[in-house]
Point group: C2
Chain length 408, copies 2
Amino acid sequence: MALIVQKYGGTSVGSVDRIRQVARRVAKFKALGHQVVVVLSAMSGETNRLIALAKEIQASPSPREMDVLISTGEQVTIALLAMALMDLGVRAKSYTGSQVRIVTDSAFTKARILSIDEGNIREDLNAGNVVVVAGFQGVDERGNITTLGRGGSDTTGVALAAALKADECQIYTDVDGVYTTDPRIVPEARKLKTITFEEMLEMASLGSKVLQIRSVEFAGKYKVKLRVLSSFEEEGEGTLITFEDDQKMEQPIISGIAFNRDEAKITVRGVPDKPGIAYQLLGPVGEANIDVDMIIQNVGSDGTTDFSFTVHRNEFAKAMDILKGIQAQVGAKEISGDDKIAKVSVVGVGMRSHAGVAGTMFKTLAAEGINIQMISTSEIKISVVIEEKYLELAVRVLHQAYNLDQAA
Amino acid sequence: MALIVQKYGGTSVGSVDRIRQVARRVAKFKALGHQVVVVLSAMSGETNRLIALAKEIQASPSPREMDVLISTGEQVTIALLAMALMDLGVRAKSYTGSQVRIVTDSAFTKARILSIDEGNIREDLNAGNVVVVAGFQGVDERGNITTLGRGGSDTTGVALAAALKADECQIYTDVDGVYTTDPRIVPEARKLKTITFEEMLEMASLGSKVLQIRSVEFAGKYKVKLRVLSSFEEEGEGTLITFEDDQKMEQPIISGIAFNRDEAKITVRGVPDKPGIAYQLLGPVGEANIDVDMIIQNVGSDGTTDFSFTVHRNEFAKAMDILKGIQAQVGAKEISGDDKIAKVSVVGVGMRSHAGVAGTMFKTLAAEGINIQMISTSEIKISVVIEEKYLELAVRVLHQAYNLDQAA
């Protein structure tokens, strides 16, 4: 008998039929003798509907009231799933975040979990109930309703698994696991049986939107065994996210190819090569709440240097305006930008101990005539920026170059 | 400066525009220097939508989960109204029933209020906030979400007014007050400036669905000054519900004519006139959850007696079936029924001290050739059952006979 936390996203509970389907799956695990805690998102579309309603009333809705409003989405699904379970003869009980209590700080719409009182849940589990918990929400110490921000339901699942010391946290989603790359681009893409937490973090932040990055960090920190599965398939083991220590000695060097076409590149040329110049340039961009992703500064010459960095494509125009506004002040010769770029990354913990990974990447792209505009590396990934039109080609040839279509 | 509790029903908050309209009215009261607590229902249609969703999943949905589900309706409106108030520059803060806390018993879907912690609300009011509270809902002592049942938002308003010792509880609805009778039948019907609690109870239970009867009882018990107003009119003082003691000496004898066309009549003839016979007949009807309204038993003769009673028209067939099933057992000669009837009542505390009220009623109906089938009286009302087709005529001539079209 195991204690399992299962999290189902908005698509998995998007209709009465799908809620019934989730109930059947949960009932199956219960029938096997497991204790099951289910964490749910709102029905797909519901959170957006509520946000739109709020914005119709107040251009920048009060964050406190926004959380009162959107937390109703999961409250609806937990009640409906508990009913669906009872309809199958399975005892079930629902809890809102506030009822659990999942205590958070008071940062409305993006709160962080401080503690979880797991006592009531454990009592209900021991009494034979399936416990259904609203994801994404909590309560601050003064009793205000809070939400954890987008994707927060994954975090609720992992946090509950950590608090309950669950044997496994299963994240059910609309894909059946983590792939070596997007199968829509490379039909040979292969589902990974395991992936390390660090690789998963790099894959997630690079746009393989399987798991919310925050929940992966959380799971890594609290050593929660995390598994990604499809909520639309009856069988299948999904992908298990492992700790590096657990892995066999012989690792594949590269686990996957991630990519992102939501970025734009900005280059500032000929700025004085002196201390504080990076802050002078990027400070005003950060103050405008624009996230900067890759940042590259080359060794300068003639007392000047060049900067390049990438921002989300939606914020490209705004970032360009800000930089042009300070161009004279920082003494930059030229500011140019390009939003027709894409970022491609090879990710793998194996590259720590293997030379030549970067070389293979550069050679493979060069062979196709794809020019690399920017390069940035970390311990377990190499990212390059290329012209957007070459994205699919680059992903395909890299997938082949690292033999990702062959089972490890 | 007064402390006012205002309750708005589902129609009054049925759209973003109407929520804005409520916000403007609340802001006006706030600008006059009053402290305002607002109690809201769910947007019209929302509670029914949620109930339908639940019934799609479970034929008899779990009452505990039903309350988790439908309490989201008011949680949405309180957040939206708080936002709308802030949009007008008015400080506002929303509270769910559980946050207040409105503590109830654990009778899910029909809970009763046990206590209200008004401390937080008072603090917020003193800090200059409008406090917006979800009607219809509460929390039991173990932290489970409960609802008060249909019309429960009125009760929340009155209970909060009692707990806060508010100067007035204003119930905003889609009519602008209590009328001497339904203006759709008698165009001369007059809006009453005041009506006593007892009269209001009789009018409400007889089908003038202005106020939830439970909230009127509650207001009477805790001496809450209750006023019914239109949420769609800018001006107007509505109808104030008063205590009899507060009334002037010279009362109008009759305050209004109530009526009900939702009933059916059943007559059981020739049953043995012996102790226990009423229970033998009506026991099985009650056990089938059929509410019996008027009950009349005439003095018998020849050792037998006749019973007549009325039930809701929707339950007429079911009640007839039950009675025919036990006819032989109780030894009744004949069971007959009629669902083409209507009940008309004259209501007024003045009839306590005035003779001749019943006589006027009977004479007026006789003059129009309207036969009276059943009569039932209480201290402040006289009800008669007549053929349904005469209903409008009866209401009109009675309205005139008691001079209800003339201002008191």
